[in-house]
Subunit: 357 residues, 2 copies
């Protein structure tokens, strides 16, 4: 029998009453220590609660897993983890291997750092799009940027988890929020999609569940110079907010600027295209009419005016499709109208897209 027991957040006292009863009856209790979250004093606290010595183990020991599984074949074994046990792929994998080896498994869920963070930020979990981890290598930032963009297009919040590394000794490495801001501002400078700027509103949660937990919210220009202290840190980039969310941000967090909706001003490429091209196409049609009226060569004249009439209909269609929330059809229509105009341009050798000189 193999139990996966979550210790919750904020030290060993996050462990549940039910878990203690089970741990007391185990033959062997491992405590995973690959985060600094469970201190020596937590191990002592667990020992006194359970009435036996728990065995601290490193990440490689859990990843290898053979000793744990061998023990669990014939005795009652538990693995205590920080947060919720099933948040980490390592534990999921160990559970899969145990099941395949006909070892009975059970999970005692607990508070996860991730969910607690969303609650402490005052945001509703239902309004988050896909979350994403940001690493210190600049290459990873572009996909993070695109995830924020995709989420904002749907009005959703994005939770950014930050890189964390622990080499088995010394203090763990936590990517700090300033570095995250810098990475994303650099991507913005290249992409220019208005996804992340000094005006972007964000919430930074540091050390959630620990005694020195801090949650600070504001525009990036207010956050960029702050020292957020030790990790772990998570950052939310907010989309459209329910008023209960903005109320909660103001009440629960150290709030530096009024909460604002970062999804305003973010539009799909298709929408941008139609808004930009429709006015230009209208002018080109007018200009082409002028050319045709002044044209001395009468050949094809009548058919060409019909072509321009159609171009105008399709520009109107594009604008209507846009209002109906059908941006792809709008783009198709505007492209079609441009093609109608340019067929005449190629035939006549005149350029209606330039303003008349």
């Amino acid at each position: 029998m193999l139990w996966f027991v979550g210790a919750g957040i904020g030290g060993y006292t996050g462990i549940s009453i039910g878990a203690i009863d089970i741990l007391k009856n185990c033959d062997l209790v491992y405590v995973e220590r690959f985060t600094s979250a469970l201190q020596d004093s937590d191990i002592e606290g667990l020992n006194s609660l359970i009435g036996s010595q728990v065995k601290p183990v490193q990440r490689w020991f859990v990843e290898d897993g053979r000793e744990i599984m061998e023990a669990a074949k014939s005795s009652r074994v538990a693995l205590i983890t920080y947060g919720d046990p099933m948040m980490a792929t390592t534990h999921n994998e160990l559970r899969v291997r145990a099941v395949r080896n006909s070892i009975k498994t059970c999970v005692l869920h607990s508070a996860s750092g991730l969910y607690s963070t969303i609650g402490e930020m005052g945001l509703h979990v239902y309004k988050f799009g896909r979350m994403v981890t940001i690493m210190s290598e600049p290459q990873s930032a572009i996909s993070v940027y695109n995830t924020i963009l995709e989420n904002l297009l749907a009005g959703n919040h994005t939770l950014l988890l930050t890189e964390y590394r622990y080499e088995g000794a010394g203090d763990p490495f936590f990517l700090d929020p300033q570095s995250v801001f810098k990475l994303l501002l650099d991507i913005e400078a290249g992409e220019k999609q208005q996804v992340f700027s000094l005006e972007t509103f964000a919430i930074v949660a540091s050390r959630v569940g620990q005694a020195d937990q801090k949650v600070i919210s504001g525009k990036i220009k207010s956050l960029v110079e702050l020292d957020f202290g030790k990790g772990p840190h998570s950052i939310a980039v907010t989309g459209s907010m329910h008023f209960t969310e903005s109320d909660a941000i103001i009440s629960f967090t150290q709030n530096l600027d009024p909460p604002s909706d970062n999804s305003l001003g973010i539009t799909r490429v298709a929408v941008q295209m139609v808004l930009r091209y429709a006015p230009k196409a209208k002018l080109a049609v007018q200009q082409m009419r002028v050319f045709l009226r002044e044209d001395k060569d009468p050949s094809g004249g009548k058919g060409m005016f019909e072509v321009l009439d159609n171009a105008e209909y399709y520009i109107s269609d594009a604008e209507r499709f846009l209002n109906q929330g059908k941006p792809e059809l709008a783009v198709l229509s505007i492209g079609y109208a441009e093609g109608l105009v340019d067929a005449l341009r190629f035939q006549k050798g005149v350029n209606p897209w330039q303003p008349p000189s």
Copy 2:
């Protein structure tokens, strides 16, 4: 002082060691009972742990909140809730009001039903798009359907929470999975976007954290006739899966069909358009060339062949943009090519889009 204390899932023993210490020192402890999750026996268990009588209260009492806040102004008050306290908007709002009334608040997070569910399904939380609640009124199903579509387009899983109502007496109402399947199959019949069919793979988690918890996975055709028992139920519609996720589904759930990626075969409208229109446009260009060659009227001939050459370039551009992941530009190009061809159609009065008779 007002404490929000999560009881976790699966009865009162989900409450943490740390929470018990705090509750023992409170002057007044409320337990919220608007789900059936905390039974009479749980209340008794809490009483004996804390050494005093906790006070069960209904939803309206928490929503009203005045009595709780009045008490918290001068004494130590706790509100025990099922799952994680900050998952429910009601608690968030009460906390905001308390802060505004200068009442100190603190949250003791705990296992949330939602996160535990994702873990029990064997899925990674990082691969979920926005989650959504499905109600029994058919009108709500279209937005649920569109959320699944948006998530699948990005390869993401969707967690469907199902409607839950408790009128303060009797058994609560839980929307059952069969009804959810029926609602979504009905929408599919109208929308035909291949988002939800009898071949869709899904995971149904029922009563997570309770003794009779059940997690069943398979295609809808295998799930549609099953009796899932009492609620609460949650349903995941899977997107692309990491192999550790499919392994976990097979190991952790009652698995009826091999896990499969529902995002295969789901394409953006823009991509569908280009794939459908590009071959037709190529044929139309060819057909128009035939018309022009057979045309007895020599006027405009040379310019028209140039128009058709351009149309062919733009069809190739559309296909290239599609491969480059720029579907909007691809649609613009294909529309443009169609416009070029049709300008000649209007001028010549022939239809190149019909196969030659």
